[in-house]
Assembly symmetry: C2
DNA sequence: CCTACCGATCGGTAGG
DNA sequence: CCTACCGATCGGTAGG
């Protein structure tokens, strides 16, 4: 086991703890115990507590962004684009549940500089989704609703799946995806 | 100005700070400065930092619950019930933005006992909304989707309005409510 | 409502 | 990777 692997274990365990208690309420001593070393030893693998948070937040931000870029230039309908974005994001949220939870809540605890960068990236992918919705409204595919309301209704519904979804029980990841697309595109009403 | 008023000011300012930085990352000294007294003086009005968090979380939980109880027994369609619940929750989220933000995120920092109580209350109103959705599916008003997916898509979309909604700009609280009901009940697609 | 202060805990470093 | 430890900051109290 080289250093790289141990580092990944530390960040993975950190994401679990941060999700459960929040970044500021989680201590390096607690993390060390979970990993199985003394607190001082963590610093052979990571530079600081802040660095762990940065790594988690930007990992999530970049996956979000690239999953939108992958769809953006395709020659498909706005409806199909939104469907694929929902699908990709649900994939992310269900496979990286801890990371998404931390990024959603604890980005506030990033340093001023990193926080601004994070907000910029997030704004970037929000604007790309907004543009898709806008075009769909113009072409008559979508209802004439406020673009921000449509954007954030979509994003909120997806982002917070990690808070309640347990994939083993009476519902699978596939069913989740199918039903969320149905609800967001066609609504609850029959 | 009696003690009650000052106490309310403290809790109001606390909600602002907790929303911006999270409960654990917010200090009593910072809160004191915002209120305009020394840190020690806060304790003439509140018992502890924890007490402030409890007050905020349970205030929100009880408003949520009562807004559902107000609708639950009415002799109206499931669609109409869901519409009214969306409407009431958006009302709460837009008027108590800071409190809702804190309750959504920092309930994790409640003491074990209070946290369990909070989760119980929250589960209570989630189950009532789930029952309404279930009935709507049975009567054929709603599509045959997984009840949990429908429930949490609805709740997530509403709960996180506080994260992006600024009521003064290009969109009013009324437009927000109208469009969210449209999207959640009838979907984005025309 | 303030001054003065306490014990606990924090992130992190030195040195081996 | 550990022992030993530091300075800073925390929530909160005593006493007036």
């Amino acid at each position: 086991m080289g250093k790289i692997n141990k580092r990944e274990i530390i960040i993975e365990e950190a994401a679990k703890i941060f999700k459960a208690k929040g970044f500021a309420a989680s201590s390096m001593r607690e993390l060390a115990e979970q990993v199985g070393v003394e607190a001082a030893s963590l610093y052979n693998h990571i530079r600081s507590k802040d660095e762990i948070l940065e790594e988690i937040c930007f990992k999530v931000a970049h996956i979000y962004m690239s999953s939108i870029l992958a769809v953006d230039d395709l020659e498909i309908s706005s409806t199909e684009k939104i469907k694929r974005i929902i699908s990709a994001h649900i994939q992310l949220v269900t496979t990286h549940s801890n990371d998404v939870a931390v990024a959603n809540v604890d980005w506030k605890n990033l340093s001023e500089t990193k926080k601004n960068l994070y907000k910029e990236i997030r704004k970037g992918y929000e604007q790309r989704i907004a543009a898709i919705i806008k075009k769909g409204i113009e072409t008559g595919e979508f209802k004439d609703v406020n673009v921000s309301v449509a954007l954030f209704t979509l994003l909120s519904a997806i982002r917070w799946v990690e808070q309640w979804f347990k994939p083993n029980r009476s519902i699978s990841a596939e069913e989740l995806e199918k039903d969320m697309i149905t609800l967001l595109i066609n609504g609850l009403k029959k």
